[in-house]
């Protein structure tokens, strides 16, 4: 192994920022000089299209419809998943009750149920939200269960020594202690919710960002298609960021408490 001198990290920052920039500039040049086929639209045109979608307000209605489905499914699925997961982590019979069914249903790609559910509910918001909620349930459930199972046992011994009731132990010890792991699950669930938001909108004609991207592809409006994809990326990115903020806000208190215990 070669030992290099540690260079100042500012130089690495230049590479980090420069590399995507170079890629974008190369793309721009290739698109302008017609090296790329016409469907590889130049980044500047995509940005202009995105701006015009914002200024004429067309994007917000679609974004609202998409985010409503993604968040509704995410909240329903992960709320049920986290509560059942924490219960399974605490009680062995509950865990056993769900174990086999969960193991099998988890393996099914939930999106494959979509046409079947669409027979009953149509290609509607309801069937989309059901699919998203079903898919969000499993990461939330598994991580909440593992979080509750992996608690430092001394916390539980301590609460038993202090003769705290089981309900209070669950609410005040087990839930806060398994929170970091629960949020790992929620992050996966949120990502899954966005994937399925797009997937369910692409199938069966609807509104929303995914269907806007698909319909502008079908119409040959490539700039609009790229701009929509950009918006999907941006909403996904900021939703993830918001969740991380909430997680660090909620878990910070817990870590502070842990330090107090250590003193």
């Amino acid at each position: 192994m070669i030992y290099r001198n540690r260079r100042p990290s500012s130089e690495l920052w230049a590479i980090t920022l420069g590399f995507p920039l170079v890629l974008i500039i190369l793309w721009e040049i290739a698109a302008r000089s017609h090296v790329f086929p016409s469907y590889m639209v130049a980044p500047s045109i995509i940005l202009r299209e995105a701006l015009s979608l914002v200024t004429n307000g067309k994007i917000f209605a679609q974004m609202g419809a998409s985010l409503y489905r993604a968040y509704a499914g995410f909240i329903i699925g992960s709320a049920v998943g986290v509560s059942l997961g924490l219960l399974s982590g605490v009680s062995r019979p509950v865990q056993d009750l769900f174990d086999t069914v969960q193991g099998f249903v988890h393996a099914i790609p939930k999106i494959s149920l979509f046409p079947a559910i669409a027979i009953w509910l149509g290609f509607s918001d309801a069937s989309r939200i059901i699919i998203i909620a079903l898919s969000c349930f499993f990461p939330a459930y598994l991580n909440a269960m593992n979080g509750a199972l992996g608690i430092n046992p001394s916390y539980i011994w301590l609460s038993k020594n202090n003769e705290i009731s089981r309900l209070r132990c669950f609410l005040q010890v087990i839930i806060p202690a398994s929170l970091p792991r629960v949020f790992v699950g929620l992050r996966i669930s949120l990502m899954v919710a966005f994937i399925l938001m797009v997937a369910t909108e692409v199938i069966g004609h609807s509104n929303g960002l995914g269907s806007l991207a698909m319909s502008s592809y079908e119409d040959g409006q490539y700039a609009e298609m790229y701009a929509t994809i950009l918006f999907i990326a941006v909403t996904g990115y900021f939703s993830n960021l918001a969740l991380q903020r909430i997680a660090s806000a909620l878990c910070r208190g817990q870590q502070l408490n842990q330090e107090e215990h250590r003193k």
């Binding site: 590479i15 056993d96 995914g210």
Partner: protein, 251 residues
């Protein structure tokens, strides 16, 4: 205790199937098939050979995409973990792209590769690349320095370093990545076959649904579940066999 826990597990399955059967009997329409009907339909599909043909069609594309993703993910993961300049260029870019649903790029992939098998293979590898890259990168980073020093002291370089030192050391994380990526592969295959395809399991689901034949559609859904379950068990089994020195770690 163990028998009791098994009994409760059995009870869970029975409750699930019971609720399903009860709903189906009560609603009493063809639109809500009972568990028994679905299993009979599954048996019929297996016997007629329709199922096997389409399973092979789906799996050949899916595994093709997955192996492309494994190759690209391990290559870039190892390179990024070993070279800090490439790492500085690629790693933040990949971290930003990771949470974006790559399925939104499917129209572009269709434009470039057409509606045939290749667009599906590329889409699968696009979506599976990220978990594999992240796992391989973390695995290569976690290799103990002393092992690398021992290798460089013995002048082990290039191909031999890769084959004898790096690959065995990152095999556990590669398999973990594969375990995350396989269900994603099934999801992507399913969606891309919904959109434009004339064979494969996803296409069968859409076709049976449009025939208002939910029993057959659910039978295919069950097949997807079985495939996922088998693949998962297979990866776990491979891990216990191949990574025999890490017995105590539960995947």
């Amino acid at each position: 205790m163990n028998t009791r826990s098994n009994l409760v597990k059995l009870l869970g399955v029975c409750i699930f199937l019971g609720i399903w059967q009860g709903f189906a009997v009560l609603s009493n329409t063809r639109m809500f098939p009972s568990a028994v009907t679905v299993f009979i339909q599954l048996g019929y599909l297996v016997k007629s050979g329709v199922l096997l043909e389409n399973v092979l069609s789906t799996l050949s594309k899916g595994i093709g995409g997955l192996s492309l993703a494994v190759f690209a993910g391990s290559l870039l993961g190892i390179v990024c973990a070993r070279n800090r300049y490439i790492n500085a260029a690629l790693n933040p870019l990949i971290a930003v792209l990771y949470p974006i649903p790559k399925l939104a790029l499917y129209p572009i992939v269709i434009l470039i590769f057409g509606l045939g098998a290749w667009s599906k293979i590329i889409q699968v590898s696009l979506e599976c690349f990220f978990p594999l890259f992240v796992q391989v990168y973390a695995g290569t980073r976690a290799i103990p320095k002393s092992i690398l020093w021992l290798a460089s002291n013995n002048q082990v370089k290039g191909w031999r370093l890769l084959r004898d030192v790096l690959l065995p050391a990152l095999l556990p994380s590669l398999l973990t990545g594969l375990r995350i990526a396989t269900p994603i592969m099934l999801i992507v295959m399913c969606v891309t076959e919904f959109i434009g395809e004339s064979s494969g399991l996803g296409y069968l689901i859409v076709r049976y649904s449009s025939y208002f034949d939910p029993a057959s559609a659910l039978a295919i859904v069950l097949t997807f579940g079985l495939l996922g379950l088998i693949a998962d068990r297979l990866i776990v089994w491979t891990r216990t066999k191949a990574v025999f020195w890490e017995k105590q770690i539960k995947l």
